[in-house]
Assembly symmetry: D2
Homo-oligomer: 104 residues x 4
Amino acid sequence: MAVVEVTIAPMGTGTPSISHYVAHCHKVLEQATDLKHQLTPMSTIIEGDLDRILEVIRKMHEVPFAKGAQRVSTLIRVDDRRDKELTMAGKIKAVTEKLGNGGK
Amino acid sequence: MAVVEVTIAPMGTGTPSISHYVAHCHKVLEQATDLKHQLTPMSTIIEGDLDRILEVIRKMHEVPFAKGAQRVSTLIRVDDRRDKELTMAGKIKAVTEKLGNGGK
Amino acid sequence: MAVVEVTIAPMGTGTPSISHYVAHCHKVLEQATDLKHQLTPMSTIIEGDLDRILEVIRKMHEVPFAKGAQRVSTLIRVDDRRDKELTMAGKIKAVTEKLGNGGK
Amino acid sequence: MAVVEVTIAPMGTGTPSISHYVAHCHKVLEQATDLKHQLTPMSTIIEGDLDRILEVIRKMHEVPFAKGAQRVSTLIRVDDRRDKELTMAGKIKAVTEKLGNGGK
């Protein structure tokens, strides 16, 4: 299980607004019901099998081209930990617990 | 107003767990009451004046060194838009609205 | 053809030096003789077919685990342009030519 | 001394070509004669005092706005190591030496 962050941005579309493209990419992700995901103000975060996540991101990367973009910049950050189970909820919990008791 | 994502990771600490360091960095951010922030499973996202955000991130970057790390890898992603107000909530809303009506 | 930047970092290895891991990852890349690559002080940059590049990066990501790391953080940045051929040399040339004639 | 990678990309400019903007950003960097820098196909890498580098990057980030962009996406990756001197040349050498003797 890995946690992966992805940001897919079309370049040179003529408008600084890209939420239209982000929404269409997200629809592709929503079809992958075996993966958990979370939308953040800067990215989408996905949890699940790494190979499966990369397969879905590969499809998401094609979306802006299908919508007319000529250049797409995609950022992928993989956090892969194998000594213990890694989940989005577990990562947040590990930090907030430490915040709760003085960061100790 | 900018929206900025930051991830601060100590290198070579001898343990794959870094939530302890993340929590201490977050405490520095919490003192900046003029900035909005959100913890995600992969990063911290901050909203506010860009110069002020960079000033606070600079302080956060020192935290792992103060806690004993010898090397720190910090990733900063700035989204700065000047034709309209950019906020974390506004960015999420722009995408979810488009998801709601078929991504149109 | 895409140009892709990759950085693969083991977490919690007990030493801040990671060049040993980088070199082993690079050896996997060198076996992919159909891809061009360039080592930079912060990453490796690869040029070629996007699917082929992602396949090789997937193998590179396993290297630190095989060498004993328990957690690996991998950053992938894809620059994919389809209105014209995108190459590492072409990208550098486009900038240096503009620098040469006053950035016009 | 830190080594910092920066990529500054205007969003929504109407053309997928951004080398014009990259060249203008680079001119600002060239005025900082106290910093070493290297242009790569995916970024600019800068070596020197961290505070000084961040100050120059802050100026570079303004360049696309001055040239008409309404939104700018800037990625900054800081590699800061304090147990030994960190340089661009030293980082490359550490890897290539290990490649030369079998990655050992």
